[in-house]
Structures are given as C-alpha cells and as structure tokens.
C-alpha cells in the first residue's frame, strides 16, 4: 500500500514537471520553424577536403566570415576573444566553421590559420563568394548560428560595439554567446538579428 502511494506521488511529480519542459521545447521548435532556412553549401577546407552543411545535421553550427588582415577581425583574434569562443563551444559539440569568401580566399593557406591560432573546427574557402552571397555575408566578421534542424537562429555582429578596439570587448554584449547558449538549452533566442560590423567581404 505504502509503495503504491509513493509511486503515485512520484508519478504525479513527473506529470507536473513534463508540461513545462514540453513548452520550452515547443517554443524552441516554433521559433526555429519561423527562422530562415540555412542555405546548403559544400566548400573545401585548407587541406582540400570537402565539407557540406548537411554533414553536420543535428548539430549546432557557427559560421564565422573571416579576413585575418581586417582590423575588426584582428580585434577579436589578437585579444584571443574569438579563439576562446571557438574552443568553448566546440567543446560543447558545436561545429565552428570559419569561411573565407571572395578575393581573400586567394592564396589563403594553413599557415594563415595557424598564425591566427584558430580553434575553429575547419576553415573553409569560398573563392567564388557563392556561399557568402547565399548568406548575405557583408562584413568580416559576420556571424551566423544554425540550429541542428537547419534554421538560422542568429545573423549579424559578434557583439554590440562596432569598433576596432579590443578594450571594448569586455563591455560589449556578445550576441553569439547569447544565441548559442539559448540554442543549446533549447530556449528561444532573444536577439536573432543585428547589424554586422567589420570590413567588407571582398566579393
């Protein structure tokens, strides 16, 4: 008799807890369903190996448009801000792809990536700029966060201060961290789009 009462109490507790979780997951899915679909791409990395977005289906993916010569990219690399983000989130099973679109891809080598100390999953070359254009990547950096079901959860600037000064980083709101943390927790992303800042992508 006592066992059944405890079991019943437990079942009641579980019954109460489940609807709240279901609501969060629904919000995340509904949000995701309204978000733009992430365009497919297949690009080569610096060793010539091809990677497609669909290879990472089910995983959260970050696209980071780069040009290591751009002062805005240097702001985040010389301060090690970007590498820290790459390391933290690849450690949480996020796939982090740095993309080089347009003229910047010419002559871009592993040595460049090594010099920058990148911790990205891969650096992909988009010399025709087709993938950059598909995502409307305007600047370096320009950040895109893609959910496991292929929707764009965030599109825009890395953070809230459009400067070349790394001293601004600690006082800036980092939109990528906020988006990734929300996506990984199955929650709605508060800020889905901001104006990107950086140097122009050299299409």
């Amino acid at each position: 008799m006592k066992l059944m009462t405890i079991a019943a109490a437990f079942a009641a507790l579980v019954g109460l807890a489940t609807p709240a979780l279901a609501e969060d997951a629904k919000a995340a899915t509904a949000e995701s369903a309204h978000a733009p679909h992430a365009p497919a791409f297949t690009l080569k990395d610096l060793s010539g190996k091809e990677h497609s977005l669909e290879d990472f289906s089910g995983k959260t993916v970050v696209l980071e448009w780069i040009n290591y010569g751009c002062p805005y990219v240097k702001k985040h690399y010389e301060s090690k801000n970007m590498q820290k983000l790459q390391e933290t989130y690849t450690g949480k099973d996020v796939v982090w792809l740095s993309i080089v679109s347009g003229k910047t891809a010419k002559g871009f080598s592993q040595a460049d990536a090594d010099a920058a100390g990148t911790k990205a999953t891969a650096v992909l070359l988009d010399p025709t700029g087709e993938t950059g254009k598909a995502y409307d990547a305007k600047t370096t950096p320009h950040m895109i966060v893609i959910t496991g079901d292929g929707h764009i959860a965030y599109d825009g600037a890395i953070d809230s201060k459009a400067s070349t000064d790394s001293a601004d980083i600690p006082n800036s709101e980092n939109y990528v961290i906020a988006a990734l943390d929300s996506v990984l927790a199955g929650k709605e992303v508060a800020t889905t789009k901001t104006k990107p800042y950086g140097c122009s992508v050299k299409y």
Binding site: E78, K103, K138, C199, S200
Partner: protein, 269 residues
C-alpha cells in the same frame, strides 16, 4: 593589439604585428593665430587620406568608423565641442555603401576660451584617429596633432581665420533655426520626411540629404527630394535597423552652409 597610431619606425620596433610603412592620412590642426579670452574659436582638423584610401563620415554607412579627435590635457578655462563633419560623398567600400571622404577635408571643433584665461601662448595636443579603407583593405590610422594658440586679452584684437578656415566652415552644417518644422512617417520601406523651412528661405536648385544618425537611412540610398506646397518632402529607403530610433539628425545639403534638422521618431515606435 594593432597599434592605433601612425605607423613609423618607432612603432615597427615596438610591435611585431604587421604594419604599413606609409601613413594612411596626413593630419594637422588649423586655427586663427590668435584668439581673445572670453570667445569661441573654430579649429579645424585637416585630414588628407593617402592615395586610394578614404575615411568615414560621422555616420559611416554599412561599415566603417568615423574620424575622431580627442583633445589631451586642455588648459584650465578651455573647453571643446564635438567634431563636426562636412557633407560626405557616397563611397563604396568593396560592395558596401558607405559615406566618406577621399580628398583633403576639414573637420571642425569649437574651442571655448573662458574670460579668465590669461593672455599668452598655449599649446594644444589632440589624438586624431580614423579608419582608412579601399576595396582591398582597411587600416586603423591615428596621429598626434598639435596647435599653438595665442590668447589675447578679452576685448583685444584677435586675428581673423584664414580663407581656408573660413571656406571650410561654410561646408559644415549649422543647426536649423526653430522656424524649421519637420515631420516624418513610414510608408512601406521608406521614410517620408516633410520639411517646412522658414518663410524667407530660398531653396537652392540642387538638394541632397544625409543622415548624421546611423541606421536611419538605408546606406547608399539616394533620397528623392520633392518641392511641396509647404516646403520639401524627402523620400528615402529606411534602414532595416531603424526600428529602435527615437530621434535622428539629418543634413540638407545644397544650401551654404548645409542645414542640420532634428527629426523626432517617437510617434513611429
């Protein structure tokens, strides 16, 4: 950290990062040789971008960073106003529409000399900074600039500004008088701005408009300006990021000097 100041041999020695051997712009401060205590004087930062590079307007557009001037250690009794920008050109940086300057440009700052400032020679230093870009690259630039100013007694004879300074000042927008009226509404993807100038205002033939406030006009969009019964109507593509703006400042180019007009966006939010 990429060094912000003019790249010279000294910097090369101190920094292992890649630097340009040439400067990205030449800068100097211009002012009348003497000013009277108890007066306001217009001082100009003269900036000449290096060949093929441009620097940016207060509202740079889709990318860029405005020219800035930071005064250092001002003597007691001397205060400064914000840097004021002449009407820019619409310049492309790569594919991105931006607002900037490719040639020698004068940016103005007011110096207010309190009546208490003793007559004598004063040296002012400031740090000028800018982002200089072309289609291929962007470079952070900066330099220290110095000004020697003679302060004469209040009521004394101060020198006139040079022709260069006087002409440069006519290109700097002045605030519209309170006789100007403005209203704005959103129609589709466009802002429709109605302006009613003062009764005696004569409109020049050619008019243009720029926004000093970022994220108001869509960068690169050329406003269409029509004459109406009450004045002027400006029709311009709205920036996709203009939702959160409560106010903006626009500049009507054509008149000399250009006119800076405040626009309230409170009713649009």
């Amino acid at each position: 950290m990429f060094n912000r100041y003019r790249t010279t041999a000294v910097v090369l020695a101190a920094c292992t990062c890649s630097v340009q051997a040439e400067s990205t712009a030449e800068v100097k401060l211009l002012a009348p040789p003497s000013v009277a205590a108890g007066s306001t004087v217009e001082v100009a930062l003269e900036l000449t971008p290096a060949e093929s590079l441009h620097v940016y307007y207060i509202n740079p557009g889709e990318m860029g960073q405005a020219v800035a001037l930071d005064w250092q250690d001002l003597p007691e009794g001397i205060t400064t106003g914000e840097l004021r920008f002449p009407v820019p050109h619409r310049v492309k940086t790569g594919e991105l529409p931006t607002n900037g300057y490719e040639e020698t440009t004068l940016f103005f700052s007011q110096l207010n000399i309190a009546p208490s400032v003793e007559p004598g020679s004063y040296t002012f230093k400031a740090k000028a900074s800018w982002l200089a870009c072309n289609d291929n690259q962007c470079l952070v630039g900066g330099d220290e600039v110095e000004l020697k100013l003679e302060v004469v007694a209040k009521g004394g004879t101060a020198s006139e500004p040079s022709t260069q300074l006087a002409e440069g000042l006519t290109l700097i927008p002045t605030d519209a008088s309170t006789d100007w009226k403005s209203s704005v509404k959103k129609e589709g993807e466009k802002w429709l701005i109605n302006l009613t100038p003062p009764d005696n205002w004569e409109s020049p033939e050619e008019l243009d408009a720029f926004s000093e406030t970022s994220d108001f006009f869509q960068p690169g969009s050329v406003p269409s300006i029509q004459r109406t019964d009450s004045g002027l109507q400006i029709s311009v593509e709205a920036s996709e990021y203009s939702k959160d703006l409560s106010a903006a400042k626009i500049v009507l180019a054509g008149p000399t000097p250009p006119v800076r007009i405040p626009i309230s966006l409170e009713t649009q939010k």
